[in-house]
């Protein structure tokens, strides 16, 4: 197991390097000169070539490409992502709190999603073909076809406007979590519960279940064995769900005006605030890779066969 972790980490480091490099290039791909963007954003009335050259020097853009990359990388490692083109504030001072807010929303949602999907998946698999199984699957099919922004809109309209029960936007108390978390959970439970269900079902048909029963093991013990094996699939999927969610709360955040990464990134894109976009992409990609590696390790701990293969 120790060796496995070392190997996994060794594979992750070069991947992270490549990712950071790509993120850095992103900035340079832009059709617009960053210096020009900065000047425009600062509201300089007449942009002269001289002024552009001066700004370029200020931003350190006259240096060779690779040197700039390493300077940028070193700075990033110290959470210094530069200053926002628009407000001039350090990027991290804006992105940090937003990241935390999104993380809070994501973690609460993921707990709800995991709890609901496992519960529904297990119950539906054990009572396959029953009324509950059929209705849950039908509803989930409908909900996966529902755009999350529509669901969000309908729920705000009903709970906040019609019944006036919950806040429509912002992040003030635990009640602010209810609507966004529900919307996120609804759109993901439909998928994850089906994964749990189908992996439970395929395990139910395994010979070891038959053999366990044939040896007189109580159903409880057998169900535990099945759970252990089917959750392996689920855990790798859930492990990936955290970073996936981190990156895809954009729509929900913007509907509920959640002060998180999603809202911030859309704002930055609309105003072409490159350092913000760059930092956003880098942080999420790194989080994605780290969580994936972590879920692989969790999987290996649970499934001895995988450990041998790698």
């Amino acid at each position: 197991m120790g060796l496995y972790i070392v190997r996994k980490v060794c594979l992750t480091v070069p991947l992270l390097m490549v990712i950071s490099f790509l993120t850095f290039i992103l900035n340079n791909l832009s059709p617009m000169d960053p210096a020009e963007v900065v000047l425009q954003a600062q509201g300089v009335p007449v942009i002269t070539d001289e002024l552009i050259a001066q700004t370029r020097a200020e931003l350190g853009m006259d240096q060779p490409f690779l040197i700039r990359y390493f300077q940028w990388l070193m700075a990033c490692l110290q959470l210094d992502f530069g200053d926002s083109y628009i407000t001039g504030e350090p990027v991290w001072s804006l992105l940090g709190p937003a990241f935390l807010n999104t993380l809070k929303l994501t973690l609460v949602s993921i707990i709800v999603i995991i709890g609901l999907s496992i519960a529904l998946g297990v119950i539906c698999a054990l009572k396959e073909g029953g009324l509950l199984d059929k209705s849950v699957r039908g509803v989930s099919f409908f909900l996966t076809a529902m755009p999350s922004y529509l669901l969000a809109g309908l729920m705000t309209w009903y709970f906040s406007v019609k019944l006036d029960l919950l806040p429509t936007s912002g992040m003030d108390s635990y009640r602010s979590y209810l609507l966004p978390v529900t919307v996120i959970a609804v759109s993901y439970v439909g998928i994850y519960f089906r994964i749990v269900r189908s992996s439970m079902l395929s395990n139910l048909n395994e010979d070891y279940v038959l053999y366990g029963r044939a040896c007189g093991l109580p159903e409880k013990t057998i169900t535990l064995h099945i759970l252990r094996n089917s959750l392996q699939v689920a855990i790798s999927v859930f492990g990936m769900a955290i970073p996936v969610l981190l990156g895809s709360t954009v729509v929900v955040e913007s509907v509920f005006a959640w002060p998180g990464l999603g809202t911030l990134s859309v704002k930055s894109i609309l105003s072409r605030d490159f350092p913000m976009i760059q930092a956003y992409v880098l942080i999420l990609a790194v989080a994605f890779v780290l969580f994936n590696t972590f879920s692989d390790m969790m999987n290996a701990a649970l499934n001895p066969k995988l450990r041998k293969d790698l």
Binding site: Y208, Y211, R213, A214, C215, G216, T221, P304, K308
Partner: protein
């Protein structure tokens, strides 16, 4: 009480499609004897075995009487049935590789199963298992118990199931194609273990197979199934020398043709008749 297990008018059907898998089967297993069920795949052998254990999948229904030691298993509740499984009726599956939970060491299974049926201490269980594993020629039993199923070979896992049967001391062992998934050498070893198992414990056995060579060696009586119907039953000798039903004759003759051909090529070595 001559017959340990007496199955009468067993009917098995699929409740979702209404398809009848076994229309009407009756057979019995004498105390201490071995009944072989032969037939091609899909002929209802496995389903019949599982029906005796009452272990068919939820969609598959069964009717008829299964008298075991004079008690009708069909009337037993699931809870009472569970007490019988393993302790009195023991099953050995075709594919050892898939018969154990892949994410536990095989030892956990054994301890869990023994704990259900006996009040032994952990040490007692380990000692008995160790002894049984040595009986089936598994070297270093303690090391084997700490291995995951994927680290062991199919033949070893098959013998592990036999070892468990030795410890459980059931009245009847139902072996569902225990040799099919194995290579010839492992097959030989496993069949040897089955023969020794019978000698040692004197228990009855239902042995499902489509390998007539193995059947000839191990069974006292043979039951031939085709499309869910028992087309012939009789002693092993009678079946192999003078089968009445055309299908049985066909099975026996193909088997003979194969081994004749083999003998011709190999110059008359009698390995094939093993």
């Amino acid at each position: 009480m001559d017959h340990l297990l007496e199955v009468s008018n067993l009917k098995i059907w699929d409740s979702s499609t209404g398809k009848v898998i076994v229309p009407n089967s009756s057979f019995h297993v004498k105390q201490g004897s071995c009944l072989a069920i032969v037939g091609e795949s899909g002929s209802g052998k496995s389903v019949t075995c599982k029906a005796v254990m009452k272990l068919n999948k939820a969609g598959i229904r069964q009717a008829g009487d299964i008298l075991f030691k004079g008690e009708n298993l069909s009337d037993l509740s699931e809870k009472d049935m569970r007490k019988k499984r393993g302790k009195q009726l023991c099953m050995i599956l075709q594919n050892g590789m898939r018969a154990f939970d892949p994410s536990c060491v095989v030892g956990t299974h054994f301890l869990q199963m023994l704990a259900v049926h006996f009040d032994w201490s952990r040490d007692e269980m380990t000692t008995k298992l160790k002894h049984a594993m040595e009986c089936v020629m598994l070297k270093e039993p303690l090391a084997v118990m700490n291995q995951y199923p994927h680290q062991l070979s199919g033949g070893m896992l098959q013998r592990l199931m036999i070892a468990l049967a030795i410890v459980l001391e059931p009245d009847i062992i139902i072996a569902d194609e225990p040799t099919t998934a194995l290579d010839t050498i492992s097959q030989y070893e496993v069949v040897e273990q089955f023969i020794r198992l019978r000698e040692r414990m004197g228990c009855s056995m239902i042995f499902v197979s489509h390998d007539l060579g193995v059947v000839k060696k191990i069974a006292d009586e043979v039951l031939v199934m085709k499309d869910g119907i028992i087309v012939e039953k009789g002693t092993t000798r009678a079946i192999f020398s003078g089968a009445q039903h055309e299908y049985t004759r066909y099975l026996v003759s193909t088997k003979l043709a194969l081994s004749h051909h083999f003998e011709q090529i190999m110059g008359g070595v009698s390995v094939a008749e093993r």
